[in-house]
């Protein structure tokens, strides 16, 4: 197993290398440079800026220099926001995204599993249809509509929760809900499906026949198999949740990595784009690995390839 993990980790290196290469050249194809501004920047200043950030060298030279720096753990300075380096920006913003993502994940799991499992216990009745309709609605409402609607209802009309910010604990409730709901909807559907399949299997019938309480049957026996699809889904979902959501961060004014990434792309902050892309890619790869390990643990039939 350790050998397997090491092999997978080693496999990350060429992947990240390809990604760095592709993105490095791709972003330079987009028109407009990092120093174009509304008030014209004179040619001399532009030349000096490019010299300062070594953008005047031939492209291939910049590329090799960048790779060399990355190998030494240096993601470079930010062009747009010079007070911190790219690594420092990621270190500043990622914990926020992580925190928000984990709250979102908690919301998604609690709501999703409750709804999904409840629905699976009595399929095709009201207790199935009601949560599943909500789940479908959760999938179909874009979060830039859901967020403002929640704010309108809970903050402006009822005055319960703050509208924006990331300073106090109560600031974090609405963003977590907005972020978590679409995922909760998927989890509800997946867990319902998984539970239905397990509950119809022989060993559950046996357990019931033995006179075990329903709660025990569901919690001890069915759940482990029933949430398998949810576990498979959790990998990409968690990666998506913690890498930050531009919309939620924008609506609630949260200093996360998602808004930084979109901002960097729009501002042509080359080093920042590359830095965040590499960081995201590494995270996603890591989560896929974790999910594979979790699946193997839940279901011994899955073998390490």
């Amino acid at each position: 197993m350790l050998k397997y993990i090491i092999r997978r980790l080693l496999g990350f290196v060429p992947t990240l290398f390809v990604i760095a290469t592709v993105v490095f050249f791709l972003i330079r194809l987009a028109p407009g440079g990092p120093f174009d501004a509304e008030r014209n920047v004179s040619d001399e200043v532009l030349r000096n800026l490019e010299a300062y950030y070594r953008l005047d060298a031939p492209l291939h030279e910049q590329y090799f220099r960048y790779l060399w720096d990355v190998l030494h753990g240096d993601l470079g300075p930010s062009f747009e926001k010079p007070s911190r380096t790219v690594s420092e920006w990621i270190a500043y913003r990622f914990p926020v995204s992580l925190e928000l993502g984990l709250y979102g994940l908690a919301v998604a799991l609690v709501l999703g599993l409750c709804a999904g499992i409840t629905a699976s216990l009595r399929p095709n009745t009201l207790t199935d249809h009601v949560p599943m309709t909500f789940a479908m609605a959760g999938i179909c409402i874009p979060n830039f509509v859901l967020g403002p609607l929640l704010v309108l209802a809970l903050s402006i009309h009822l005055g319960w929760l703050p509208v924006s910010g990331w300073e106090y604990p109560e600031d974090k409730i609405l963003p977590a809900i907005t972020l978590g709901v679409p995922y909760a909807a998927y989890i509800a559907r997946l867990s319902r499906g998984g539970m239905l399949e397990v509950l119809s299997q022989d060993f559950i019938r046996t357990a019931r026949a033995k006179g075990l309480s329903e709660a025990r049957v569901v919690l001890r026996h069915a759940l482990r198999g029933g949430i398998q699809p949810v576990v498979a889904f959790l990998g990409p979902a968690t990666a998506g949740l913690i890498t930050g959501s531009f919309v939620v961060e924008n609506i609630f004014q949260i200093p996360g990595l998602g808004s930084e990434f979109v901002g960097a792309a729009l501002h042509r902050d080359y080093t920042m784009i590359l830095g965040t892309v590499l960081f995201f890619a590494a995270l996603i790869l890591l989560f896929n690995l974790l999910v594979d390990l979790a699946q193997a643990w839940l279901d011994p039939r899955v073998r390490y390839e």
């Binding site: 300062y52 300075p77 010079p82 409840t118 402006i156 910010g165 409730i173 329903e214 924008n250 004014q253």
Partner: protein, 550 residues
């Protein structure tokens, strides 16, 4: 299938209870954050975007200006009500009769926030730093009115002592200008003219290093009414009263918190739920609603800026001034402003905003469809026949889009021409303008200081902000002549002639003059609006309403 069990109902009930408890717990004490801050003497400000930096030499935006003007103070300050120069770090100054040499006398008690005295050398160091080519400051051109500053900034001369600034002693500075600059004193409220803490910068990377830590709260030293206490990007910037400020006794605010809320809708909601004293903006659809409700917190100030369309004069059909005029004449500004833009904005029949440094243009661009059609016909396109399809470029924004959609219809109906809309995001849009790769493009200019030169300069031939390919010897001559005349009447009259030419040649189509809409809490006292959007933080204070103070 399974039996329904009360277990599940219990779990569900529990979940509901917890959710409700959390929700109600949050609504226990209902004192707003702004209300609390009013009691503490702290002002909560929505600041639009996150500042790029807090280094006055490496920034170029308005959000940066708001924070930096709280942290630093230049030689001269402005009276927020009249925009007249008043003493800042300099206690007094003298001007030579030819208007070229200014001598500033620093006040005795001027100190940095660490207690060090502010000296003439600090200012000189700052000016040398911003003009040094290798620092590549984007806004260094604000200092180009100083003799030889441009030459030093572009690297033509290497020796800073040739630039027209000199420390006569520790507290006296002499500035020699290239030519008479009547607005020179008002430049000093702009961050490009602020002093910077020499020792700190030298200790943390030196004069020309861009990526240094000197602007972090633990290092930052400033000379203004406030000092930096906390800077968490995209969260909050807090400044607190600077006890070493020379006039600290008169500063009544204990601190200011700047919240970088980019989304105007979010900012508006934050204000309404008591999270802010002052917003940076108000979303357009909300302004209309507030006006209808007579919402008492809505303020709309005139703002020194013009929203206009620029035309690429280098390509047919717009290389013909008659075609450009036809487009300019057939824009129904009154309807556009009343129905689409509103927010108290004024239709712009000329370019430089009214009363810019005492100047108002003579020229007017009327709404005259008849004449527009005639001009278009003279140019060879009667009724728009044979007129090529042209594109109207705007950068991503709901407001720009709505205006462009309305203008597209107006031109189509008035001239029978087909105009297509083209939306590009910011950097692509800038690139298109810089490379003259557009037909007509939305644009705007906000004045840095209240003088027509700031606006007219843009359309000098070859100016970096021209971006229309427009070049007129006569215009250039008049603008330059105006700038060199010291006496107000002669100068402004010359500018008026220049603007007549600009409007007749129509490389731009003025649309409206900006206003600055914002929401302001009644807790904020001594608020003095002006058309530069300049806020004098040190004279403001906050006071909770009487019933809350009890």
């Amino acid at each position: 299938m399974s039996r329904p069990r009360s277990d599940w109902q219990r779990v569900a009930a529990l979940v509901v209870c917890v959710a409700a408890a959390v929700a109600f717990g949050g609504c226990g004490a209902r004192e707003t954050r702004a209300g609390k801050a009013s009691v503490e003497g702290v002002l909560l400000v929505g600041n639009g975007a996150e500042p790029q930096e807090l280094d006055p030499h490496l920034v170029s935006g308005v959000p940066e200006h708001r924070v930096l003007s709280a942290l630093f103070e230049g030689l001269v300050d402005l009276d927020p009500a009249t925009l007249e120069p008043i003493p800042g770090t300099a206690e007094r100054w003298t001007v030579s009769p030819d208007g070229l040499v200014y001598t500033f006398y620093l006040r005795d008690g001027a100190q940095w926030s660490n207690g060090d005295p502010v000296t003439a050398q600090d200012f000189l160091y700052a000016w040398e730093r911003i003009l040094t080519p290798t620092l590549a400051s984007e806004y260094a051109s604000m200092l180009h009115c100083v003799a030889n500053a441009r030459a030093f900034n572009t690297g033509e001369i290497k020796d800073f002592s040739q630039v027209g600034v000199k420390a006569l002693d520790d507290s006296t500075i002499e500035v020699r200008l290239e030519q008479p600059t009547p607005y020179f004193l008002s430049l000093h409220v702009h961050y490009t003219w602020y002093p910077v803490p020499r020792k700190v910068i030298e200790a943390l990377g030196g004069m020309t290093a861009r990526n240094t830590k000197w602007t972090q709260p633990e290092h930052m030293v400033s000379n203004g009414a406030f000092k930096l206490a906390q800077w968490e990007p995209d969260k909050v910037i807090r400044v607190e009263k600077n006890p070493h400020y020379w006039n600290a006794a008169a500063v009544r605010l204990q601190g200011i918190a700047f919240y970088p809320i980019e989304d105007a809708m979010t900012e508006d909601r934050t204000f309404r739920t008591g999270g802010l004293h002052l917003t940076e903006n108000v979303p357009l659809p909300k302004i209309e609603m507030y006006q209808k409700e007579q919402f008492p917190f809505l303020h709309i100030d005139p703002y020194l800026g013009t929203y206009y369309y620029r035309i690429n004069t280098t390509e047919p059909p717009f290389d013909d001034a008659r075609v450009r005029r036809a487009f300019a004449l057939s824009l129904d500004r009154d309807t556009l402003v009343a129905q689409v833009v509103n927010a108290g904005r004024q239709p712009a029949a000329h370019y430089v905003p009214p009363d810019t440094g005492g100047y108002t243009s003579n020229a007017r661009m009327p709404y005259d469809v008849e004449q527009a059609r005639r001009l278009l016909a003279e140019a060879g396109y009667p009724g728009g026949q044979g007129f090529p399809k042209v594109e109207l470029l705007y950068n991503t924004s709901d407001d720009h889009k709505r205006i462009a959609e309305a203008v597209q219809q107006m031109w189509n109906q008035a001239l029978g021409v087909e105009v297509q809309l083209l939306n590009q995001d910011w950097k692509v849009y800038l690139n298109s303008m810089n490379t003259l790769n557009y037909d007509i493009a939305r644009s705007g200019w906000i004045g840095d200081y209240s003088d027509p030169y700031n606006f007219l300069e843009c359309f000098l031939s070859g100016n970096g902000n021209n971006r229309t390919g427009y070049a007129s010897d006569q215009y250039d001559r008049l603008v330059r002549k105006g700038a060199s005349i010291m006496y107000k009447t002669g100068r402004l009259a010359t500018y008026q002639q220049a603007e007549d030419i600009l409007l007749a040649d129509a490389p731009i189509i003025p649309v409206y003059f900006y206003t600055r809409p914002y929401l302001l809490s009644p807790d904020v006292k001594n608020w003095q609006p002006n058309h530069l959007g300049y806020i004098s933080w040190k004279t403001l204070y906050v006071e909770p309403p009487p019933e809350q103070a009890r």
